[in-house]
Amino acid sequence: MSVPPSSPLHAATFSRRSLLAAALAGTALLAAGCTDSPGDAADAVTPAQVDQLAAAVAVQEQLVSAYDRALGADPALAGTVTVLADQARTQLERLRAAAPGAAASTTAGSSAALDPAGVRGWLRTQVSTAAAAHAAAAPDFTGGRAALLGSIAAGLRGQEAVLA
């Protein structure tokens, strides 16, 4: 797998080794992140892992639903939360692409009304829970799926920090 360097660091002039790291990372992850190459052992998944990926998709679906509920309960959060919700949706799309046989499902979220005063804290808890689930799952995979789950977990920890 060889792809031209694509990292922003390539424009920088740090050590050649660092630039190489950035370039290589972009290369392999582009190829392995969300695809299912039959010939790549790192991309093979066991039946148990298929279930784990389905669970990760469900976790992310619940998070996307939580963002929708939060915005519905407290529209004043839109300035902060809209971009985070969009990122969560993008993550969900990538997770679905990485999960064999995964399809969009209708998440049966709670319909209980949220207290607008506590929405931000509630949402932060939902983000934290999802991040922890993805972080716990990532080491159980190899290759691009491990990288994808780990990256999403890290991204959600960043979101959690913003919601603090």
């Binding site: 790291a21 990372a25 990122q87 993008t90 691009g144 780990g150 999403i152 977990a153």
Partner: protein
């Protein structure tokens, strides 16, 4: 330390090691070790870079700089120990690095810190991609998360929006 009959030291999987300490291509962890070397190089770069960051921010604002530098020093130590345990010679620092842009203000410093953390995040996602050992992937998830959390803070100080990213360390497309 075990050794083969010809005197060549063995890796932990019994694979022969090269004279320079690097794993042989056939080593079970050769790809993982190479990725760990890149993460170590990123840590070296970050430690050096935070020296520049610290010099460009007021004394009272250096707390996060010191904490970030310490985090990368801790990772450097972990990586060096891990690689040495596999009889892989850890990469050394470069001694000096060229800055990607002039760092003349606290905002410039924050932007440099973002670059450092994003570089580290890229290296750690590569480790995740390449690692064969479960424990290495656990280490990588933690390191990647730490890098992104620091990056969020630095993006805010640098005026970068959004301050979060959906896929830290992964290509944007």
């Amino acid at each position: 330390m075990s050794a083969q009959d010809d005197g060549t030291p063995e890796g932990r999987d019994g694979t022969a090691m090269a004279d320079d300490g690097s794993t042989t291509p056939g080593s079970a962890t050769a790809a993982e070790d190479a990725a760990l070397q890149e993460a170590l190089a990123a840590a070296h770069t970050a430690i050096w870079g935070y020296g520049v960051v610290g010099a460009a921010v007021p004394l009272e604002a250096r707390g996060p700089v010191v904490a970030a530098e310490q985090a990368h020093q801790d990772l450097r130590e972990q990586l060096t120990t891990l690689l040495a345990s596999r009889r892989v010679e850890p990469v050394d620092d470069e001694g000096g690095y060229a800055l990607p842009f002039p760092v003349l203000s606290p905002v410039d410093a924050a932007a440099l810190a973002v670059t450092l953390e994003e570089g580290a995040a890229t290296a750690w996602t590569w480790v995740l991609d390449q690692a064969t050992e479960h424990s290495t992937r656990e280490l990588a998830v933690g390191a990647l998360t730490g890098a992104e959390l620091r990056a969020v803070g630095w993006r805010a100080q640098a005026g970068v929006t959004p301050v979060t990213t959906a896929f830290p360390g992964l290509p944007t497309t």
